[in-house]
């Protein structure tokens, strides 16, 4: 048992489980720091998984697949920006609507493209890009940290998320910044979806399976900071991998209790017991 937990295979499982969480959480961090709640992460993951499958299928390769995931996610992110930034729709309502939309449209297109309402055929063209995507994820975590804290764009983005009127009085366009944030968030969450599709080498209806919401929780647990959000995702991934290994080993530890741990931690964080979880001040306000 101990040997299993120290093995490379276990570590690899933790990382594999973490990647989609981390990519979605990065997208969530970016959009929420600009002041827009992003409950649509789930839909972005799912839509990214589908659009990457389309990319890999018609582009005959992993690059086309990844590109498809990123572009599909960005497109859905743009739709979200149109709804909540330009048209000033309620962010929770629009986010939920987008999740339902993603579930429906992927099923519809799945049926139209592959004549199945369950899954696409296996796409061998995905090859073995897992390791590459893991490295890209690590690089993106670092990049998001740098952009958010060390660049003028990041400063403006955070300013818009805290006090859009003050930012506007200094010549920053809150709407433009939020558009950029949401499209980028969509792109990176779409990449998370591409990971899901590439790992299975096919698209399966509903395959995001709530990972977007877990990413949302991880982002809050990481207090809206990219690196910490990613670390929280790693913790969630660790708990899930541990739960899986515990089940396989058949030892009498209640596996579900182990998987519950990160959520309990998140609630404790939200309740303010581990420092203060301070949301961006303008979060959720339409204008």
């Amino acid at each position: 048992m101990i040997a299993t937990l120290l093995s490379l295979g276990f570590f690899a499982a933790v990382v594999r489980i973490t990647v989609p969480y981390a990519l979605a959480a990065l997208g969530g961090t970016l959009s929420e720091r600009s002041g827009v709640i992003n409950i649509a992460l789930e839909g972005l993951l799912l839509f990214g998984a589908f659009s990457s499958t389309i990319g890999a299928w018609f582009g005959h390769g992993p690059v086309a697949g990844v590109l498809g995931g990123v572009l599909g996610g960005a497109a859905l992110g743009a739709l979200y920006a149109l709804l909540v930034v330009t048209l000033k729709g309620d962010q929770i309502v629009c986010g939920v609507a987008l999740n339902l939309f993603a579930d429906g449209i992927t099923r519809f297109l799945l049926k139209a493209t592959f004549d199945s309402s369950s899954n696409s055929p296996r796409i061998d063209a995905w090859g073995h890009i897992g390791t590459t995507l893991i490295l890209v994820t690590v690089a993106l975590v670092a990049l998001f940290h740098v952009v958010l804290y060390w660049t003028p764009f990041g400063l403006r983005l955070r300013a818009v998320g805290e006090h859009p009127e003050a930012a506007a009085s200094l010549g920053v366009h809150p709407a433009r910044i939020r558009w950029a944030a949401l499209v980028l968030a969509g792109a990176v969450a779409g990449l998370g979806g591409a990971w899901l599709a590439a790992d299975q080498r096919q698209f399966v209806a509903g395959m995001s399976n709530g990972r977007g919401y877990i990413a949302l929780a991880a982002m809050i647990f990481g207090k809206w900071r990219p690196a910490w959000a990613a670390a929280a995702c790693l913790l969630f991934g660790l708990a899930e991998a541990l739960q899986i290994v515990l089940q396989a080993s058949g030892v009498g530890v209640p596996a579900w209790a182990v998987q519950m741990l990160p959520y309990v931690l998140t609630m404790i964080t939200l309740a303010g017991f581990i420092g203060r979880a301070q949301a961006p001040r303008a979060l959720g306000k339409s204008d």
């Binding site: 299993t4 093995s7 295979g9 499982a13 594999r16 489980i17 989609p20 339902l100 579930d103 429906g104 099923r107 049926k111 004549d115 199945s116 309402s117 369950s118 899954n119 296996r122 899901l196 790992d199 299975q200 080498r201 096919q202 399966v204 209806a205 509903g206 395959m207 399976n209 709530g210 899930e240 991998a241 899986i244 290994v245 089940q247 396989a248 080993s249 058949g250 579900w256």
Partner: protein
């Protein structure tokens, strides 16, 4: 100000629609319908999560009714619900449309079908994998409803024995979808079958979750399978819906074996699918449709097991080389013992 006009209009239209709805509720497919006589039997299927094209359960039910269309002249309608409440409205749509037979594919329909069957006593209903329980236990369906139940544990017993006989590591695995009694039947049968032929074999078990989503989480299925393969298992049986697609992906990557469920899943990973424990939902659906047309309808629980050839495992030109005749003979002997009642397969 301008909004007040819009609001009023919305309120009026909503009220009108509600009124129309109430009126339509009173409308029932009226008149005495003569079943099996002049007009053809009209049968409708409402599919479960996964829907048509799942290459398994739903597709099998579709084949059953499709065969009834070709051989019995039944008129068929298929409804594929999306999320949640669409299921009930799908059944209601068919019931109100005057269908003679309405089939819900999956235990998830148990409550809805039970309730609607009581509202439409002249319509026939069938629920595949019916499982409705209240505080007093199992709820017997009304006389116009059939609960189609399969003895999954019997088929699982055979593939469990087969897996243990083929295993070189003396360790086999089971990946379940949702952690519920229906799936425990598969696990119990599989475990008992493996133990029967190999008492010192290890049987590893993993479930994807405790909600319905656990049946469509392939990434989780893959990780569960990889963990069991890493711990020594070389054959894994799944009963997990599309979560099982992840098990096949893991079998491909590790070049080990997986066992499919519900339908022949050889094509999901050719060469790596040792066999599949099949549930002939089509047999039960066709048989039910035939009884509605020709008479002989009998409500209540109908059990389909090894004896009825409604559960089985795949042994054909694809996997004959993977299994071999010695193992086949051993498993067939077990089949006979089960049918003869010499082996009692546990359900939990």
């Amino acid at each position: 100000m301008i909004y007040r006009g819009i609001v009023r209009r919305v309120v009026i239209y909503t009220a009108l629609l509600v009124a129309l709805n109430v009126v339509l509720l009173a409308v029932r497919a009226g008149g005495e319908r003569k079943v099996g006589g002049v007009h053809p039997v009209r049968g409708g299927i409402v599919f479960d999560v996964g829907g048509r094209g799942d290459k398994s359960f739903n597709d099998s039910a579709y084949r059953g009714l499709d065969r009834a269309v070709r051989e019995l002249g039944v008129e068929a309608e298929y409804i594929e619900p999306g999320e949640g409440s669409d299921r009930e409205s799908g059944i209601r749509l068919l019931a109100a449309g005057g269908f003679d037979l309405i089939i819900g594919v999956g235990f998830i329909f148990s409550d809805d079908l039970y309730n609607i069957a009581k509202e439409y006593p002249r319509t026939h209903f069938a629920c595949v994998d019916y499982a409705k329980f209240d505080e007093k236990g199992f709820v017997v369906p009304p006389p116009n409803m059939v609960a189609i139940k399969f003895r999954e544990e019997e088929g699982s017993f055979l593939v469990g024995a087969l897996a243990a006989l083929v295993s070189k590591t003396k360790a086999v695995g089971f990946v379940g979808g949702m952690d519920i009694p229906l799936i425990h039947k598969f696990e119990a049968g599989f475990r008992a079958g493996a133990r029967r032929v190999c008492p010192d074999c290890r049987v590893m078990v993993g479930y994807a979750g405790v909600t319905g989503d656990a049946f469509k989480n392939p990434a989780k299925g893959k990780e569960l399978a990889l963990a069991q393969y890493a711990a020594g298992a070389d054959v894994i049986f799944h009963a997990a819906g599309t979560t099982g697609l992840g098990v096949f992906e893991a079998a491909r990557e590790t070049t080990k074996y997986a066992i499919g469920v519900d339908a022949d899943q050889w094509n999901e990973a050719p060469g790596r699918v040792l066999t599949s424990m099949t549930k002939q939902v089509d047999v039960s659906v066709f048989e039910t449709a035939r009884r509605v047309r020709d008479g002989g309808w009998q409500g209540g629980v109908q059990q389909f097991g090894l004896r009825e050839k409604a559960v089985d495992y795949v042994y054909d030109e694809h996997n004959v080389a993977l299994i071999g005749s010695a193992v086949r003979d051993r498993v067939e002997a077990l089949r006979k013992e089960i049918i003869d009642g010499k082996i009692k397969v546990p359900e939990r």
